[in-house]
């Protein structure tokens, strides 16, 4: 068990946290939506105010979600699946208005040298993003920069788990009661206990739905009743992300970083002891004083329980009842690791098979025929053997893609360097064979071209996106492995129709060859590409940027072959 204070763990000094909390409360009175101050140790703190108008929350959709703007948040998506995160529209609008504020635009943030990047500390914040949001934060290893303090009974962090339509009636009163700028702020006379309990019940019931639904799924329930009930009800898309610190109200704190556990605890910790306690608990759920609470629990001797993925949880002594579920979720975390371990165990076989295909490629080249064309002809039993290898590899890679599609691998998997490299190698080596197989069987006539939507196997799309994301390349810039598909597609049409495409392709080829991303075997005399290119009108060829390429590269290959035969002798 790793001990330490909250400050040591998060890299934010306790006094800064308390100052931030103080500023966060103060910011509600600010006119521009945020305030800026320098804390101790020269930390600059920006504190953003929330909105207190029902209008800002109002949405036509049940949960007010909207797709994240990738131009502002390029990483907040899943890579292979390319699913964008969903965020609460109202909060995003609020963010945009701050962002467009001239004074905010004048703020300069430069990250220099070894200084840690910016951090985010929230106090009783509602959930903002969905599971993709959480996934992306974990993948980028950013979850550690987000620290959320949540009062055990505070209802606000749970609000977005309920559909807006269900709480519409009471919401206005609740906001008024919570708004520090309102004259009804925390005035018990302004809010009936019926409204408070009704609001509390609805939010908690929805939180219960989301928590128990996720728990069933995480525990691997195969009962199809679960799936069928889910199709009758709409569940909130929002999930916790980052690190949570639950404040229990008696000076103790619970520190959790597994988002699945956080979700369970968000529900269980807010439950009243029994039905008779509803009114009391509902009242308590609306009166959370973070400054006092943090003063009590952060300063001096801290009493923190750290719940990490690999430990037993003494939750019940802290008054939480989610222990069993929590262990379950821990096991789930282990399940993902177990999946990863299984996938990792395939690496040697994948490497070996890929080496064999590389050898095949080499032998083909020695016979002066590109392996694309050799494979497409399938003349020899050797070609057949490679086809089996191609299928074996496809099976292994498809399994990875399937797991990623269902988010069954650890969030960081798609940014693992070894897999990105292996995937790139796989794509470069094997995708041409897939294309050859595709056109050998004229599948373009069954289902359309290889490059149409859904034609290209996901295992290549995924591995291409991994590389593009890791190297911060433009989307689609690493598509050289589809070269043969482009050739096949263009050569089936008359020259006049495809002139522009041809010029574009030639330009790309030129570039890829310069960057060594395309192998030179494409220029071999008998290759599909070379043979087709020779049929293009003389005039076009003489002006093409590939003019002379054939001779030049052919010459090189011949020279190398000569070399190698010399060595052989």
């Amino acid at each position: 068990m790793m001990e330490g204070s909250v400050g040591d763990r998060s890299g934010i000094n306790e006094s800064v946290i308390i100052k931030a909390c103080f500023l966060a409360v103060k910011s509600h009175k600010s006119a521009v939506g945020y305030i800026k101050e320098t804390g101790t140790d020269e930390t600059v703190i920006f504190a953003f105010s929330g909105s207190w108008s029902v209008q800002d929350f109002y949405t036509s959709k049940p949960f007010g979600e909207t797709k994240i703007d990738v131009s502002l948040f390029p990483s907040i998506k899943s890579i292979g699946n390319n699913e964008l995160a969903m965020i609460y529209h109202g909060f995003f609008c609020r963010f945009q208005s701050v962002l467009q504020n001239p004074s905010f635009q004048n703020e300069k943030y430069t990250r220099s040298g070894n200084r840690p990047p910016c951090k985010c500390v929230t106090f009783g914040s509602p959930l903002v993003g969905d599971r993709i949001f959480t996934h992306a934060l974990n993948r980028e290893n950013w979850a550690r920069f987000f620290l959320h303090f949540v009062g055990r009974h505070d209802i606000v962090p749970r609000i977005t788990l309920a559909p807006f339509s269900s709480i519409r009636n009471e919401f206005h009163h609740i906001l008024d009661f919570l708004n520090p700028n309102s004259r009804n702020f925390q005035k018990s006379s302004s809010l009936t206990s019926q409204d408070a309990s009704a609001f509390f019940n609805k939010v908690l019931k929805n939180a219960s739905s989301v928590a128990s639904h996720d728990a069933c799924n995480l525990m691997g329930s195969t009962n199809s009743l679960l799936e069928i009930i889910s199709s009758f009800v709409e569940l909130s898309p929002y999930r916790p992300s980052g690190t949570y610190i639950f404040c229990t109200g008696n000076g103790k704190m619970v520190h959790i970083s597994n988002p699945n556990s956080v979700l369970q605890i968000l529900f269980y910790s807010c439950q009243p002891d029994d039905e008779s306690q509803v009114i009391n608990t509902a009242k308590r759920s609306l009166c959370m004083d973070y400054i006092n609470e943090l003063n009590d629990s952060l300063l001096g001797m801290q009493d923190v329980v750290y719940l990490d993925d690999k430990m037993e949880i003494p939750l019940s002594s802290n008054g939480y009842d989610a222990a069993s579920i929590n262990t379950a979720l821990t096991d789930l975390g282990l399940q993902k690791l177990e999946n990863e371990r299984m996938i990792d165990s395939n690496i040697p076989i994948i490497e070996k098979t890929q080496d064999l295909i590389a050898k095949y490629k080499q032998t083909c080249e020695d016979r002066r025929i590109g392996y694309y064309d050799a494979f497409k002809m399938q003349k020899d039993s050797e070609d057949f053997r490679e086809n089996v290898r191609r299928l074996e590899l496809a099976g292994k890679w498809d399994e990875i893609v399937e797991m990623l599609k269902r988010y069954e691998l650890p969030d960081g998997f798609e940014s693992r360097k070894d897999w990105i490299e292996l995937g790139t190698k796989f794509r470069k080596l094997v995708e041409p064979l897939d294309i050859a197989n595709y056109y050998r069987h004229s599948k373009d006539e069954d289902t359309g071209t290889y490059l149409r939507d859904g034609g290209r196997p996901k295992r290549y799309k995924f591995t291409q996106r991994w590389r593009e994301h890791a190297l911060r390349l433009k989307e689609g810039s690493s598509s050289e492995t589809t070269f043969w598909a482009k050739v096949e597609q263009i050569r089936r049409k008359p020259f006049e129709e495809t002139k522009e495409q041809i010029v574009a392709l030639e330009k790309e080829v030129h570039e890829w060859v310069q960057k060594n991303e395309l192998e030179k075997d494409v220029f071999l005399e008998k290759s599909t590409f070379a043979e087709w290119w020779k049929t293009l009108p003389e005039r076009h060829r003489s002006e093409s940027c590939l003019k002379g390429f054939n001779q030049k590269y052919l010459y090189n290959i011949q020279a190398r072959l000569l070399d190698s035969s010399k060595n052989y002798q």
């Binding site: 195969t222 009743l225 679960l226 799936e227 009758f232 177990e338 999946n339 299928l391």
Partner: protein, 625 residues
């Protein structure tokens, strides 16, 4: 590692999830109203985009008399895909009395109109009912589910019953499991309620008691606020007789599961008590729970509890407000789940054992699925070898084509290898189906593109070999034709997967080389498909061959007309496939069965030219290929 069990018990969690949705309160609400307002009929309502149909628990008791407790076949009643219920005609049976009640309501114009609306709207539907109304709701769901099978994106159907009697036998329960409809049924059963257990016992000895009991229940259910009429109740002695009589049979059933069961539960059972609820879907566990909970009851509670669903539903939907006991913090999560679940129905250690028994032994579904994927990649070379074999057959000098080469094969090593590969592939796919039906795989497994495509490709490639083997070994003379008697069940299931596949944006052509006819069929093929798109083509041809043989020897002119009609139908179908190039070239090989058949037909027609005056209309059209 092999027998690693699922580490969690989710029966309580699932009940908790269901309890947090509005489904149960809304269902019960309408049930209660239909008991009061619509005796012998039903009510419908729409709440939040969901249509609720509630059948009244107050039904004609006299109508039940001659039938109740007797099983009758369901076949012929429901428009089911007979292939999906093997030998359905004889084995799937339901209670005659309950079926009769269902039919009576089903044939009313009001009901027909409602069903028409539901089918049109494509919105989710809840069928529900209290008491006998629950049985009618279950039969209605079964009917609608069977009907919806033929629709591409059917609305979701769920059935909630409250204290319903059982309706059918073991084959029904098995058929529902095979169809993966178990999740569409959730039967709420209170701890002591006698009615859900009643049909474990023979009814003849207790007919009079039962009559009085139903009458007194109906009176109470039919009156607003469940006012109990003291005059109509059974006496204490009668109650006690009834309770012990039924208890005896429930106990016997629970002690020796699987023997002499006429009525068997199906779907999910949600056991409710004042402390909570659990959802169980394992039939053996359900029977034991039915016994264990009932045994802790009493003669009066077994009758009163039938009318307590209102309060149970209320409790379940307020469960989220009640903190669960803290004792659950055992280190083992599975143990904790079991403890929690058995607390929820407050019936101690026995129920705990029972829940443990329901625990699925075996790896977790996702691990199973991952292991199957490895299995699939291991058998891929077998498949590739068959592909290779097909190609070499198609190019061979004898020009027999793939199908006939295999059918007429000699004793070569290569042929034997293909024969073995065919068997290994068949075994693999059978094991996949087996695991799926035993709920050992993720619930959406049969919708995953990888498996749908792989199974389709397997079917197109290997089924012709299975057909060849069937006719080669003369099975058709013993059992009848392949299409009717010989087609392995796996292919019918793969047909269903393929039919129901969601419009995959990606057809994963790569691994599985599936050629999808239909999608993109606007583009005419420029060459023949690599695999014949109807995997049963050869089986149909074998039948057509028989017709051609028969037609020349047949003397009865009516039979001759019928035979010619069949021949012509097949001819059109086959020519369509060939014209659209949806057959693989082996069909058109010079010496293939098809080519020979076409030639035989041509000769036959020449010969029968002079008959054509006798058989008008048959040979008028151009039939020369």
């Amino acid at each position: 590692m092999e027998a690693e069990a699922s580490s969690f018990e989710t029966s309580e969690m699932l009940a908790r999830f269901l309890g947090s949705t509005p489904l149960l309160p809304e269902s019960w609400n309408l049930c209660g109203r239909s008991n009061v307002m619509a005796p012998q009929s039903f009510l419908t309502d729409e709440v939040g985009g969901v249509t609720y149909v509630a059948f009244s628990g107050v039904q004609s008791v006299d109508g039940l008399d001659p039938f109740c407790g007797n099983l009758v076949p369901l076949a012929g009643v429901f428009p089911v895909d007979a292939g999906m219920f093997p030998a359905l005609e004889d084995t799937v049976m339901v209670d005659a009395g309950l079926l009769h009640l269902f039919w009576t309501i089903f044939h009313t114009p009001v009901f027909q109109n409602q069903m028409f609306e539901i089918k049109k709207k494509q919105k989710p539907v809840v069928f529900t009912g209290h008491s006998i109304g629950g049985a009618i709701a279950a039969l209605s769901s079964l009917w609608l589910l069977s009907y919806l099978q033929s629709i591409s994106s059917p609305p979701t159907v769920i059935c909630f019953t409250f204290g319903s009697p059982m309706i059918g036998n073991e084959p029904l329960s098995r058929a529902i499991q095979r169809q993966r409809w178990g999740g569409n049924f959730c039967h709420l059963v209170s701890k002591f309620d006698i009615l859900p257990r009643l049909l474990f016992a023979p009814l003849a000895p207790i007919t009079t008691h039962l009559h009085n009991l139903l009458k007194s229940w109906h009176l109470t259910m039919n009156s607003p606020f469940f006012f109990q009429d003291p005059g109509n109740q059974l006496g204490d002695h009668e109650k006690s007789e009834l309770f012990h009589f039924v208890l005896g049979y429930v106990e016997a059933t629970a002690r020796s599961p699987g023997t002499n069961l006429s009525f068997v539960p199906f779907g999910n059972f949600m056991f409710c008590s004042s402390d909570g609820a659990v959802c169980v879907d394992d039939a053996t566990a359900i029977v034991r729970m039915l016994y264990l909970t009932f045994a802790s009851g009493s003669p009066s509670s077994c009758i009163d509890d039938h009318l307590e669903y209102e309060s149970y539903v209320g409790k379940i939907s307020l469960q989220f407000l009640n903190r669960t006991e803290e004792e659950i913090c055992e280190s083992n999560t599975y143990e904790a789940g079991v403890t929690l679940a058995s607390q929820s129905i407050s019936s101690g250690h026995m129920a705990k054992d029972c829940l443990k028994m329901a625990r699925r032994i075996g790896r977790t579904p996702n691990l199973n699925s991952a292991n199957l994927a490895i299995g699939l990649s291991k058998i891929t070379p077998f498949r590739a070898q068959i592909e290779w074999y097909k190609e070499s057959c198609d190019q061979s000098d004898d020009q027999l084509g793939y199908y006939d080469s295999f059918k007429l094969r000699g004793a070569s090593k290569r042929d034997f290898k293909v024969f073995m590969n065919r068997i290994k592939l068949g075994e693999f796919w059978n094991s996949v189906i087996d695991m799926l039906e035993k709920n050992q795989l993720p619930h959406d497994f049969h919708k995953r593109a990888k498996w749908v495509n792989a199974s389709q490709f397997y079917k197109l490639l290997v089924e012709p070999l299975d057909i060849a083997e069937y006719y080669r070994s003369g099975e058709h003379r013993k059992k009848g034709h392949y299409m009717k008697q010989g087609r392995p069940r796996r292919y019918k299931i793969f047909d269903k997967w393929w039919r129901e596949r969601e419009a995959f944006r990606e057809n994963d052509n790569d691994n599985n080389s599936v050629s999808i006819s239909g999608s993109g069929s606007n583009n005419r093929r420029s060459k023949f498909a690599s695999l014949t798109q109807d995997s049963c083509f050869w089986a149909k041809l074998e039948e057509a061959r028989e017709w051609v043989e028969k037609v020349s020897s047949e003397s009865d002119p009516r039979h001759v007309v019928a035979l010619w009609a069949s021949i012509e139908k097949f001819e059109q179908y086959a020519r369509g496939l060939v014209d659209r190039k949806e057959v693989s070239i082996d069909v058109l090989a010079k010496n293939s069965s098809y080519t020979i058949w076409v030639e035989e037909l041509r000769v036959l027609k020449l010969h029968s030219q002079h008959f054509s005056t006798q058989i008008p209309g048959i040979l008028d059209r151009k039939v020369v290929p």
